[in-house]
């Protein structure tokens, strides 16, 4: 990414406008991610502050092998684990069975008995229009922690699977299981909302 290389060069050269651009672009996403990793907003704000301190100190050593965004999120994940006292190497995937759809909605042969009602264009528009930052936070907050972290990185922030694995210390397979479970739960919440239309 040529634009990012230029931004990095300016950051290393002490360009304050470049640093302000990076803060404007990533402060809020970092805070949103921090809140999936620590229990309170106050601690999340401290962790983000601490992350920026790490960035300021480490920018000369950043080699640009990952994207700037991935580097920032990785610093944050490390700080958050320290702040939360959770010194674990990776997020464990709950080995308990969790189905995307309750098994009661299928018959013994595995066919739908209670199929999803298709969402009309009007329903889709309504769901998309109501997807404010606060509403998305409510959906995310309803997820178990490990699913929440993956869903935020992948679907809210739009990172790649390999970036999310690197940041969270997950294998590709576990990342996909958590993403699948998280998305399935959010779909189910939206299905209820659509039905209340």
């Amino acid at each position: 990414m040529a634009v990012e290389t230029e931004l990095l060069d300016r950051l290393r050269a002490g360009d304050e406008a470049a640093f302000a651009t990076v803060v404007e672009r990533y402060h809020a996403p970092l805070l949103r991610f921090a809140m999936t990793m620590v229990p309170t907003r106050a601690v999340a704000e401290e962790v983000v502050q601490d992350t920026w301190l790490g960035v300021v100190r480490g920018i000369d050593r950043f080699e640009g092998r990952s994207s700037l965004q991935t580097w920032l999120f990785r610093i944050l994940a490390n700080r958050a684990r320290t702040a939360g006292g959770r010194e674990r190497r990776s997020v464990p995937v709950d080995l308990q069975e969790e189905t995307a759809v309750p098994s009661q909605r299928f018959n013994a042969a595995g066919h739908w008995t209670d199929p999803p009602a298709p969402w009309t264009d009007a329903v889709e528009d309504r769901l998309l229009a109501s997807a404010t930052a606060g509403r998305v936070r409510d959906l995310i907050d309803a997820l178990p922690e490990a699913q929440r972290q993956v869903v935020v990185l992948r679907d809210v922030e739009g990172l790649t699977a390999s970036d999310a694995c690197e940041i969270l210390g997950l294998t590709d397979a576990n990342q996909r299981v958590l993403l699948h479970r998280g998305r399935s739960r959010v779909r189910s919440m939206l299905e209820q909302e659509a039905g209340e239309g």
Binding site: W52, S103, P116
Partner: protein
Amino acid sequence: MAWRRPRIFRPKDVVCRDAVELVTAYLEGQLPARDRARLEGHLADCPHCTAYVEQMRTTVAVLGRARPEPVDAETRDALVDLYRRWQTS
């Protein structure tokens, strides 16, 4: 008479209960070719699972829709100040 592949060796068809568990890997482009073909074969015949896959796509779109509140000027300026002090020290 031409030899025909016995039906008995046909791989087990995907049923709805399996299909909903394959959706994420499918949308991620991570399903092996054979599984993808089996799932797509099922979707071609099953309007319910087709609706389900569409709902999962919409779910991803909803999650990616929200932009966070922008950083306030005070916080930004304090961070720029931190950067300046580190650069000049």
